[in-house]
């Protein structure tokens, strides 16, 4: 971790991509997220850190309404992407998820070929007019996910046959293939070894040029390495949110300090 670099790493973008106000999430009787306000900026990597069960994944899943698939989950408050309330009655979660892609903790490629894995999203959203278009999208997505060189000769082989790190990059390729504007990553490296992790981290940094990336991570080093903004969650509260450099070097809240120095969590 290079502290100098961290401090210098101020974001020059100030466009707010996602604005959340007063977000509350309940699972049955459990109050999982308590009154969270956060502004996520465009073309920025935002890291959510915090101890297990603090609600960071839950909050992430609010951003593309994946919590809708859980019967007992209830979301209150206001989340706007580009000023549009994503919990509005008129919003179709399917359309939203095409705009807000997601990469999961465990690499979960479909048990289909590498090509079909990447082509699936564009196919169902009608992004490709013909086969050549689709081939282009697949190639572009795999290149963006830094998987093209390894996968170009085996596109018809099953995606499940790749190594863990390759599978995760395949999932990233699949997510970017639908041309999202926001990419949500839920602990994308927790199932990967250090080499695969560093590959994915490099990738995340490159993705920042085109997307607003939100990453949930258990590893504070990872948050420090890849993000420009960091949010610290604790027991369902957003404790502190700010520039990554500032959070890691000069936390304002004693809980944040305890966590990043390893005293809690």
């Amino acid at each position: 971790m290079n502290d100098m670099r961290l401090i210098d790493r101020a974001t020059d973008m100030t466009d707010v991509k996602i604005a959340a106000r007063g977000v509350q999430v309940f699972y049955g009787d459990t109050h999982a997220i308590k009154d969270v306000d956060v502004d996520i900026q465009d073309k920025t990597v935002t890291a959510f850190i915090g101890p297990s069960g603090c609600g960071k994944s839950t909050f992430l899943r609010c951003l593309n309404r994946m919590n809708d698939t859980i019967d007992s989950a209830r979301v209150e408050g206001d989340i706007r992407i580009d000023g549009e309330d994503i919990y509005d009655r008129r919003v179709d979660p399917v359309q939203l998820r095409a705009k807000v892609g997601m990469v999961f903790q465990k690499p979960n490629p479909f048990p289909k070929s590498i090509y079909d894995n990447v082509a699936y999203g564009p196919k169902i959203h009608g992004l490709a007019k013909n086969r050549t278009d689709l081939d282009d999208i697949v190639e572009r997505s795999l290149r963006r996910a830094a998987l093209w060189d390894e996968a170009k000769d085996r596109l018809q082989e099953p995606g499940t046959g790749l190594s863990g790190g390759q599978q995760q990059r395949l999932c990233i390729a699949r997510a970017v293939a639908t041309e999202p504007e926001v990419l949500l990553m839920d602990e994308p490296c927790s199932a990967l070894d250090p080499i695969a992790t560093s590959q994915v981290e490099e990738l995340i940094d490159e993705l920042r040029a085109n997307y607003s990336v939100v990453i949930v991570t258990h590893s504070m080093q990872q948050a420090a390495r890849v993000s420009q903004k960091t949010a610290f969650f604790h027991l369902g509260n957003l404790v502190e949110y700010g520039e990554t450099g500032q959070i890691f070097t000069n936390p304002q809240d004693s809980r944040t300090e305890s966590y990043i120095t390893g005293r809690i969590g």
Binding site: F104, N108, F110, P111
Partner: protein, 451 residues
């Protein structure tokens, strides 16, 4: 002696015991483990023995049914008996009943016996004629009706021997039992031996057992499974066409779409209950609803199929839900995450992964339905049916029998030849079941995907 001297550790302090010998506790545990292993082997052994006993008894009793005794006799299709007017008019030919043919065959056999000089001392013509099956006259008549040109010619025809003669060749009848049996005499058995030696009489594989319809009480040698197999096949078609789509649709809805609330819990419990309902109850239901209320015909495969569908549905639903549940949620999340709708998620990803399990469950359900007897008894499938049902879909409404019901039917009859037939039918039924289960295993192996 100084105060400093610490008491030395006693040299004979008990050690924990050598690792080379087991202590009592370990011995007891190992003995218990051994005992349990023996119990397990005994349990498996009992099962295997029971299976072997069952199969042997069925095979010993039933294999005979696939062979039949035939007589090869030269029969003159005498014109003066079969077509008195000599014009080959089908209407006239049809007027001659089997009684008109019987003397022809019996005469032909007697002539053959005498030509070869095989007649035992003092055996009457009537006894010789009685060795021919009652069915033989009908066989001959059908041949003439199908091809009137044979009239006036002489042909060697292959006709069925009587069930007792057949039984003699299969060791079911012997001379001692023939003394006590009103239907067969020791002389006939003697003649059977001589005819067999002369090559007139032989035992051969009997396709008619599989293709022919059932026959009446006194001609077991002619009875076959044709109508029963067709009936079972039609019922399975009905079950497959109804139970698979309904069952799969219900499971997908319950598993993937339905909200989890008191109503779905209630439905779930009741599906499990339905799976445990005795099958005869479904028979009563079928009788009350499909026959008495809806007015569908009795003994029809459509009714049997509907009843068996009701019976199979819970099995299919339970199997399908289990295989849908076994698809990892990460696949659903992945699909939803790229913006697939719920239905796309289910049909593009979940269902293909669950398909092997669904197919297996369906085939097991079908196999269960194929062997089911009780509900069919109540909807009139026990009827004696000699007419083949038509081709589907009309055939679904024609009377038919079913394999297990045919077994039940035959075991009810007096002639011991039917016991052999029943065991033979069980063999056919078992072959179908084993084939279906093998198909289920094959499909599961073939389409199983790992992730």
């Amino acid at each position: 002696m100084t105060d400093m001297t610490a008491p030395a550790a006693p040299a004979d302090a008990p050690r924990k015991g050598s690792l080379l010998e087991q202590d009592a506790r370990t011995k007891r545990r190992n003995a218990a483990e051994k005992r349990f292993e023996v119990y397990g082997i005994i349990a498996v052994g009992i099962g295997v023995l029971a299976l072997i006993a069952l199969l042997t008894s069925i095979l010993v009793n039933g294999l005979g049914a696939f062979q039949q005794t035939f007589l090869n006799v030269e029969v003159e299709f005498a014109e003066d008996r079969l077509d008195k007017n000599g014009n080959r008019d089908p209407a006239d030919l049809a007027k001659v009943s089997t009684f008109g043919y019987k003397p022809l065959i019996e005469g032909a056999l007697i002539a053959t016996v005498d030509r070869l000089g095989l007649r035992p001392d003092g055996m009457s013509d009537g006894d010789i004629g009685a060795m021919v099956s009652n069915e033989a006259a009908a066989q001959l008549r059908n041949r003439v009706l199908a091809d009137p040109d044979v009239i006036g010619t002489t042909h060697t025809v292959r006709i069925l021997a009587n069930a007792r003669i057949d039984g003699y060749l299969k060791d079911r009848v012997d001379r001692a039992s023939a003394e006590l049996d009103g239907n067969v005499t020791p002389q006939q058995l003697e003649l059977t031996d001589r005819l067999q030696a002369a090559g007139v009489l032989d035992k051969a594989f009997n396709w008619d057992f599989i293709t022919a319809p059932d026959a009446s009480e006194n001609r077991p040698e002619a009875s076959g499974l044709g109508v029963a197999i067709l009936g079972s096949l039609y019922m399975m078609l009905v079950v497959l066409c109804l139970a698979l789509p309904i069952g799969v649709a219900a499971s997908i809805y319950l598993e993937e779409f339905a909200p989890k609330n008191r109503w779905t819990d209630l439905i779930e419990v009741n599906i499990s209950n339905l799976a445990a309902v005795p099958s005869i109850v479904f028979g009563i239901l079928g009788l009350a609803i499909f026959i008495n209320f809806a007015g569908l015909p009795q003994s029809a495969p459509i009714v049997g199929g509907l009843v068996l569908t009701l019976m199979t549905l819970p099995t299919i639903i339970i199997a399908t839900r289990a295989s849908l549940k076994s698809v990892p949620p990460s696949i659903r999340e992945a699909a939803l995450g790229v913006g697939a709708s719920k239905m796309q998620t289910v049909f593009h990803h979940v269902l293909p992964l669950a398909a092997p399990g669904i197919l297996t469950g369906t085939i097991i359900g079908l196999a269960q339905a194929l062997g089911e007897t009780a509900p069919l008894l109540l909807i009139g499938m026990v009827a004696f049916v000699r007419e083949y049902p038509d081709a589907p879909p009309e055939g679904f409404f024609d009377p038919a029998s079913a394999l297990p019901v045919q077994v039940y039917n035959w075991t009810q009859r007096a002639d011991p030849a039917f016991v052999e037939r029943a065991s033979g039918a069980i063999i056919v039924l078992l072959i179908f079941l084993v084939a279906m289960n093998a198909l289920a295993v094959f499909l599961r192996r073939r389409f199983e995907r790992r992730w």
